[in-house]
Amino acid sequence: MNNNSLLHAAGLVLMVIIWIVLAVFLRNIQGKPFPYPWEAVMAIIHPGEASASIYLHMGASILRWGAGFGIAAILGCFMGIAMALSPKTGEIFSPLVHTLQLIPGLAWIPISLILFGLGNTATIFMIAVTAVSPVIINTRAGIREIDKSLIRAAKMMELSSYRTFFQVIIPGAAPSIVGGLRIASANGFRVLISAEMVVGTGIGLGYSLLQARWNLDYEAAFGTVIMIALIGLIFEKLVFYPLELMVRNRRGMA
């Protein structure tokens, strides 16, 4: 464990302390049913009789998010590459993509309900449509910003277009592409929770959060928020951190 991990842990401990102090204050002075951290954790471990297990909610959410993010990642990379390699395609789609980026995820609710009705598909659509634009923008920018002399070097070596693409253009744009995927995954995850609260299908973390609110089950609501944060954190540490390390450290970027 290095120094930074200790500092990260210290930050988490500080957050828990603030939570406890806040809970003590709100309970005893204002009389609000603000749960303690351990109560929230207990609510995750032993959910109420009526609600489905938190693991089922988690599984459903992760599957939806995975599908939406997967679609956004694949479509976004293809679009980004096409827009970077063909300037005309780039100019045609560029205003569209930048407009898409401005639309908040929840604004898609009516459209996705008309298109897909209540259910999984509507949620997945909303995730994909909000996650796709950062992937496109970063992929395109990454390719366009590759050092011109590297492209010239590839020409000088008479690399085939296949080699130029896979051994110069894609690795050259990789840091930017990974950055785009990272933003996309966070965007998608946020939309997922909100979408589940509105377009819910009876299962999912967002739905569980809303249900907890209706039941005035604040322990469960806080527990769900903890789970949402944990999933984000685990994904960040297990997927994007190693990926970023791979593309950045090898070329000496800090």
């Binding site: 590297l150 010239r152 070097a153 020409k155 070596m157 690795p171 050259g172 593309v247 070329r251 000496g252």
Partner: protein, 275 residues
């Protein structure tokens, strides 16, 4: 295998209209020569070099290599870029292997792999970077990166090596050392070199011929044959830096670098300037 520029004119268009960069250049570089193209910054010497590399087509006139017009970049004309242009995500060895089409040794057949490994070892040895196969470009100094760039050029077995101010961003001691080493490489690996620089001292210590260009629009002012001094880069450098003949030449170059085109070239811009 001769490089020839005949009646080359070229301009760049921008916000200020078309700016003439190179005017009426006639130059030929013979096989085995080490020609230094010397001139102030922005005089169009890199433009001439990029024409030889095949990245720029001249507006007028033609650039011929082995009697054929240069249509585009090609492996027989390797270029050492000013900023080395190594792929930052590939190791030294992988960068060099990329130039012969195999990025990793293990993917190819065993006999082929051995031959390629020997090739890489040989070119790294020539540039004095033995044992640096697995180093990453960012771990190397600027000078070492340029040497890898030269090694990458060498493995392509080019007939012509083009060097675009390769040591411009180095300190003077390092540059003089690399100048010696380039001469040594040229002695060991017979090939034609066209070397672009704005440094008079560098021009004096490396080549067999100096071609002086004027400030923009670049015309060829004059040229000097230097003869092949010494058996090694170190000897050549010492002899040339110490002789009074070369000190005089350096002053002459310094004075002429301020000049515009010679009157007989009929360059209208220059005639106006001198008037």
């Amino acid at each position: 295998m001769k490089l020839e520029y005949s009646a080359v004119n070229h301009g760049f268009s921008g916000y200020a209209g078309t700016i003439p960069a190179v005017r009426n250049v006639n130059l030929s570089v013979d096989e085995g020569e080490f020609v230094v193209l010397l001139g102030p910054s922005g005089c169009g010497k890199s433009t001439l070099l990029n024409m030889a590399a095949g990245f720029i087509k001249p507006d007028e006139g033609e650039v011929l290599f082995s009697g054929k017009e240069i249509a585009g970049p090609g492996r027989e004309r390797a270029l050492v870029f000013q900023d080395s242009a190594l792929m930052p995500w590939l190791s030294v060895e992988e960068n060099i292997l990329l130039a012969i089409g195999n990025r990793r040794l293990k993917f190819s057949q065993k006999r082929n792999a051995e031959r390629l490994a020997n090739e890489v070892t040989r070119v790294l040895d020539v540039v004095g970077l033995k044992g640096f196969n697995n180093a990453m470009p960012h771990e190397l100094s600027v000078g070492m990166r340029q040497k890898v760039s030269i090694a990458r050029g060498l493995i392509m077995e080019p007939q012509l090596l083009l060097m675009d101010e390769p040591f411009a961003s180095l300190d003077e001691q390092t540059r003089l050392r690399l100048n010696r080493e380039v001469v040594d490489i040229w002695i060991r690996e017979p090939m034609t070199i066209l070397f672009v620089t704005h440094s008079i001292q560098e021009a004096l210590v490396v080549g067999t011929r100096i071609v002086l260009m004027s400030a923009r629009p670049g015309c060829l002012i004059s040229e000097w044959k230097l003869g092949s001094h010494g058996e090694s880069g170190a000897e050549r450098q010492r002899e040339r830096l110490e002789s009074s003949e070369y000190r005089d030449l350096s002053l002459e170059l310094l004075n002429k670098m301020e000049l515009c085109c010679p009157p007989e070239s009929g360059c209208s811009t220059c005639l106006e300037k001198t008037r």
